[in-house]
C-alpha cells in the first residue's frame, strides 16, 4: 500500500479504510501541523487544529477532487480553514504573541530524509518568492492568509483604505503567481 499515489490512497480513505488513513496521515501530518503552528503560534492549539482537520476528513469523508489540485494542497486548505476558525473564535492571537520564542527550533523536523529535505527546499523557494514582493503587498497577504484577518481588520490595523488593502492583495498574488509559475500575465 505504501507505494500507492496520494490520489489512490484518498480513494481508499473515502471508502473508510483505516490503514489507508494512517498512510495518508503519515504523509501529510508534518505539513499540516507546520501550517497550523505558523498560523496559531501555539503548540496545543496547533495540535487541536490538525486533529480536527484530519478527523473531519476521516469522518465526513470529505470529497477530494483531483481537478482542484494535489492532495497536499487540499489537506492544507482544510487545515487553513480550521486554523482561521480557531483564530476567529478565541484569543489565539493573544496566545500567539505570548508563545515562547524559538519554539520552532524545538519541534523542527530533525530527520534528514529525502522528503524532509524536499520540504525544506520547497519552503525556501516559496519564501524567497514572497520576499521578492514589495513589503506592503507581502504584509497584507501574510496578515490575511496566516493571520486569519479580514481585509477590513487589516485596513484598521494598517490605517489604510479597504480598497488599498484589496488592491495590494491582488497585485501581490499576481506577482507571486508569476514568480512561482513563471508565465506571463493575461492579455
Amino acid at each position: 500500500m505504501s507505494n500507492l499515489a496520494d490520489e489512490e490512497v484518498m480513494h481508499l480513505v473515502q471508502e473508510g479504510d483505516p490503514r489507508a488513513f494512517e498512510l495518508f496521515y503519515d504523509r501529510h501530518s508534518g505539513p499540516a501541523f507546520s501550517l497550523a503552528y505558523r498560523m496559531v503560534g501555539n503548540r496545543t492549539v496547533a495540535e487541536d487544529v490538525s486533529q480536527e482537520a484530519f478527523l473531519s476528513i476521516w469522518r465526513s469523508k470529505l470529497r477530494y477532487q483531483p481537478d482542484r489540485g494535489s492532495v497536499r494542497t487540499w489537506v492544507l486548505g482544510i487545515v487553513h480553514h480550521r486554523a482561521i476558525d480557531a483564530l476567529r473564535r478565541n484569543t489565539v492571537h493573544d496566545k500567539r504573541r505570548a508563545s515562547a520564542e524559538g519554539i520552532e527550533e524545538r519541534f523542527e523536523a530533525r530527520e534528514r530524509t529525502d522528503v524532509e529535505v524536499a520540504r525544506r527546499d520547497e519552503a525556501l523557494t516559496v519564501r524567497a518568492a514572497i520576499d521578492e514582493l514589495p513589503a506592503e503587498q507581502s504584509r497584507v497577504i501574510e496578515l490575511a492568509y496566516f493571520g486569519g484577518f479580514s481585509h477590513s481588520q487589516i485596513a484598521d490595523q494598517l490605517e489604510m483604505p479597504i480598497g488599498t488593502v484589496k488592491g495590494r492583495m491582488r497585485l501581490g498574488l499576481e506577482k507571486l503567481r508569476k514568480t512561482i509559475v513563471g508565465d506571463p500575465e493575461p492579455a
Binding site: 483505516p18 488513513f21 496521515y25 523542527e108 491582488r170
Partner: protein, 237 residues
C-alpha cells in the same frame, strides 16, 4: 450581469482567494462567481499563488502524540461501526445463497447470527471461509492477564488483516501499543493503536505476505523503530 457589478466584485478576488472576506461578502462573491466566467478564471489563476503560501512555512514534525490521538479516534470509529458492517456483510452473503424455502432460509440466518454473536471472528470463517481466515493470538500472561484476540486475514492480493484484542492493560497518556511484523528474521514496525477503557483494541495490519508472526509491544507515544521490550501479544502465522 452588469459591468458595474462585475467591477464591484472583481476587486474582491484577492481577498476571496486569501479567505479575507467577511461571511456576508464571501456569500455575495460566490453567488457572483456562478454567473461570471471572467472572475472564475481569475480566481483559478490567483489560487495558484495562494496554494503556494502554506508551503513557505518552516517544516515541523507533527508531535508524536498527535498521531496516537488521531488514530485512536479512527480506530474507535471503526469499532463503533463494526456491528453494522458485520450485519450488512451477513445480509449480503445470505442474499447470494441459492434459493431455499423461506422457513429454512430464516432458520439458517438465525443460526449464523447466533454463531456470529457468540463467536465473533468465527462468523467470518463460517460465512466466508474462501476469502478470510482467523488466527488466534497468544498473550504474555504476566502483562495481559485476561487477554484474548484474533488476527483476521483477508484473502485479497494485499494480504492485509485486522488484529482485534481484548483485555489489554490501559495505556498511560504517553504510551501506545505498536504492531510489529516478523518476516525472515527481520522485525518491521507497523501500526500503532490504543485501547478502550475496557481494554479492547483494533488495528489494521498490512503486508502480511510471507510474514512469520505479528507481535504487539507497548511503546512510547509516537511509536518506536524497534521493539523496546518483549511482545505482549503474538500471532504465529
Amino acid at each position: 450581469m452588469s459591468l458595474e457589478r462585475h467591477e464591484m466584485h472583481e476587486q474582491d478576488i484577492g481577498a476571496y482567494v486569501l479567505g479575507a472576506l467577511s461571511d456576508e461578502e464571501h456569500t455575495r462573491f460566490v453567488r457572483h462567481l456562478v454567473e461570471c466566467p471572467v472572475c472564475r478564471d481569475e480566481v483559478d489563476r490567483l489560487q495558484v499563488a495562494a496554494d503556494a503560501l502554506p508551503r513557505s512555512v518552516t517544516p515541523l514534525a507533527a508531535p508524536a502524540g498527535l498521531k496516537a490521538a488521531v488514530m485512536g479516534e479512527v480506530q474507535a470509529d471503526v469499532r463503533e461501526h463494526e456491528p453494522a458492517s458485520l450485519g450488512r456483510r451477513l445480509r449480503d452473503r445470505l442474499s447470494r445463497l441459492p434459493a431455499v424455502p423461506a422457513r429454512v432460509a430464516s432458520a439458517t440466518a438465525v443460526v449464523l447470527l447466533v454463531l456470529g454473536l457468540a463467536g465473533g471472528f468465527g462468523l467470518s470463517q463460517i460465512t466466508s471461509g474462501d476469502d478470510e481466515r482467523t488466527v488466534t493470538a497468544s498473550f504474555d500472561t504476566d502483562s495481559v492477564v485476561n487477554g484474548s484476540g484474533n488476527l483476521v486475514i483477508s484473502g485479497n492480493d494485499d494480504a492485509g488483516g485486522t488484529l482485534r484484542v481484548h483485555g489489554m492493560p490501559a495505556l498511560k497518556r504517553n504510551e501506545t501499543y505498536q504492531v510489529w511484523l516478523e518476516r525472515d528474521g527481520e522485525v518491521i514496525p507497523k501500526a500503532m493503536f490504543t485501547v478502550s477503557q475496557d481494554g479492547d483494541g483494533l488495528t489494521a495490519v498490512d503486508d502480511l505476505q510471507g510474514a512469520d508472526r505479528v507481535m504487539v509491544t507497548k511503546e512510547p507515544a509516537g511509536g518506536a523503530r524497534a521493539p523496546s521490550g518483549a511482545p505482549v501479544v503474538t500471532v504465529k502465522l
